[in-house]
Symmetry: C2
């Protein structure tokens, strides 16, 4: 889906890492970050360049969009640009029908940890499912065990693992973890640490106990992602809304997240065919305006 | 969508009500009931006749499918056939942007209560939303107040009101009530009684605390509806699955419902275009087979 556009590919990468600010503040949009999935017409190099130019604080990257040179090269580009990497999407997909399948998944997740380390990503986002049978409880135990096992590998690598509670409509085909309290139980069951949660407005906004759920997340929040909810949803997977186009009180969501002690990037991740068709530079400008209006 | 088929329209209606069994057991399928929305090609009269002929225990009816003569005539037909009416769908849609709109909604809900009384329906199902603004909490208070107000009218009419917790993916455009504990809080806040909940597998199966949520529903369950969850969902609204085609442990769901003390009809309600295109008689046969295999 990458569209060639006129961006420099020879960004200098010899800037010493310690000299690079954690977030780019030169044309600051505050804490606003962009998830690469919102602008899939750009290559990873283009997205890093585009977000930097637009003054974004950070970028969330996707494993399947990494180019030749992979995570190492993308990490160099981001550091050279002074752009933080707020997330790597995504590990997880732990469940498999047999031990060989589970080993294969575990090996791939260790590679994801290695990539997150090369990117200096603030978290590796985990998609926790789906179950391989109708026994949801068994699927949930399998996920919990796999997260704990992966954390043993991720801790020494310095890569925080983020359990993502996904919207319950993904319970059948993506994630058996569908509420924030459930994600927190899994994260905190790893008593040695290194596991937290990521809060996505699109996945969590419906929770009638959101205020209490968020209060319970104190000190466990590794990241925040934002998309609006369109009513009715135009598509089960690719129907997320541009900030302000939907039903979510985004400012309140961020306030609840901040009240947990979180003060990091706010990463906009919109799966939406219409947004995907737009010029990425224009999308970044629209997101910045909507962020100012509905969040900041 | 009604398709004329060869069914008697002059079913005798002069059977004394007290002589009519609560459920038809002549060709018993046990507790299996059919929601009219599963077989929309049939008129209400045809659906009552078809379900009776197939040995179903009860039928769930829809207000917008009632024919000339309305609820009174449909109630007579059902009683004459010895077919219980397990539900009337649906009241609710309480929220409105102003007082005039809320009064209009309240008046329509009182008419729904009248119709449920004429049908001798076991419950009036309430769709509790959507909110008219982004303030979900305000929408939820509006719903709770409206349910309490409607209960004052429904109690003397002998019509139980069923708060339906709907799947969180309907939070934006249908129901701000999206979990069972939340539905129970609303139902039980009406301390004078007359309000309970209806449990639909499609809406509730994802709940990681389902066992505890169901245990908390004891003595408040007015009805049970069944549909399977297709993964991934083919459509946000019309993508429910035939029993056994999806990811839900239906037998376990019914066991949990029964453990609350519920022993009434199990009503199959499948919104699915493919099912809707099928011959309704064949659909009833398929549902009966799947029920025997996955539920009974």
């Amino acid at each position: 889906m990458s569209t060639p556009v006129d961006v420099p590919v020879d960004v200098p990468v010899d800037v010493p890492e310690q000299a690079v600010p954690r977030t780019s503040r030169s044309r600051s949009l505050g804490r606003l970050a962009m998830n690469q999935a919102t602008v899939p017409r750009w290559s990873t190099a283009e997205a890093i360049e585009g977000c930097t130019r637009a003054g974004y604080a950070a970028i969330g990257l996707w494993r399947d969009r990494l180019e030749p040179g992979g995570a190492k090269r993308a990490g160099e580009l981001a550091r050279a640009a002074g752009l933080a990497v707020s997330s790597l999407c995504r590990g997880g997909w732990f469940c498999a029908p047999d031990a060989a399948g589970r080993r294969e998944r575990a090996a791939d997740n260790r590679r994801a940890v290695d990539e997150a380390a090369e990117l200096d990503a603030a978290m590796l986002v985990l998609v926790c499912g789906p179950a391989t049978t109708r026994d949801l409880e068994a699927g949930r135990r399998e996920v919990s065990d796999a997260v704990a096992e992966l954390a043993e590998y991720a801790r020494p690598a310095g890569v925080p693992l983020a359990v993502e509670p996904m919207h319950p409509m993904y319970c059948g085909d993506r994630s058996v973890v569908v509420t924030l309290p459930q994600a927190l139980r899994i994260a905190r069951s790893v008593v040695e640490g290194g596991v937290g949660v990521v809060l996505d407005s699109y996945h969590l906004w419906w929770d009638p106990d959101l205020t209490a759920s968020m209060a319970g997340a104190a000190s466990s929040v590794l990241g925040v992602q934002l998309a609006d909810w369109l009513a009715p949803p135009p598509h089960p997977l690719e129907g997320r809304g541009m900030l302000g186009d939907g039903t979510i009180e985004l400012r309140r969501f961020v306030e609840l997240a901040d009240a947990t002690g979180y003060a990091g990037p706010l990463e906009v991740e919109i799966f939406n065919r219409e947004v995907w068709r737009a010029d990425p530079t224009e999308t970044l400008a629209v997101v910045a305006r909507r962020y100012a209006e509905h969040v900041a």
